[in-house]
Symmetry: C2
Subunit: 91 residues, 2 copies
DNA sequence: TTAGTATTTAGTTATTTACTTAAATACTAA
DNA sequence: TTAGTATTTAAGTAAATAACTAAATACTAA
């Protein structure tokens, strides 16, 4: 869970996830949405990939990134847990 | 959402939330669970409080901390959004 | 008031993070 | 092979973070 939260704690990376929610994109297409160099975006993508929040496939000279929803499921479970308050002593 | 993820991105703070899930605790009781000074824990509590993940009430010379579940609800909504994949073109 | 306990604030420091530029790798096509 | 495009890796830097110690604040009780 630590890698997940570290990955999600950066606004640029969360915006990348927003973009990938709409459709799969190449690294270059992703970088066009930011006022930031390609290497910077590449590093963010690496962090998202290591956290298993995105998936990548090489297609020719392009690398296509897509969302990987499995970790989001885990995050939901983690958060739901905290909404189910343990009962204190009754009397 | 940024403050939320920043707050959740530290393992000590997530462990504090785990402890508070079981029962409300004073700042001192919380610090007993960590190999860390009280001022350090106090700073973590401040960050959790600013992120509205916990609530605090002063009781005499003690400060009692408790979970605030509302932000967890928001987190769940945020994550569910990503599990509902947008349809691509059909044909 | 004075001493003691609980907690927070202030100031400092080591580490981590997010960016940069330059160079390397990988593929495409002339 | 050579030139061009897409992407990543490497190396460096400024800013943010998480820890510490020391001091301040706030309450309790003798």
């Amino acid at each position: 869970m630590n890698e997940t939260f570290k990955a999600l704690s950066d606004p640029t990376r969360r915006k990348i996830l927003d973009l990938l929610k709409e459709r799969d994109l190449t690294a270059g297409e992703i970088s066009e949405h930011f006022n930031m160099t390609k290497p910077s975006i590449s590093q963010h993508l690496k962090i998202l990939k290591n956290a298993e929040l995105v998936h990548d496939v090489k297609k020719g000279q392009f690398v296509i990134y897509s969302l990987n929803t499995t970790i989001f499921q885990e995050l939901i479970s983690w958060a739901i847990h905290f909404t189910q308050k343990t009962n204190g002593k009754e009397e």
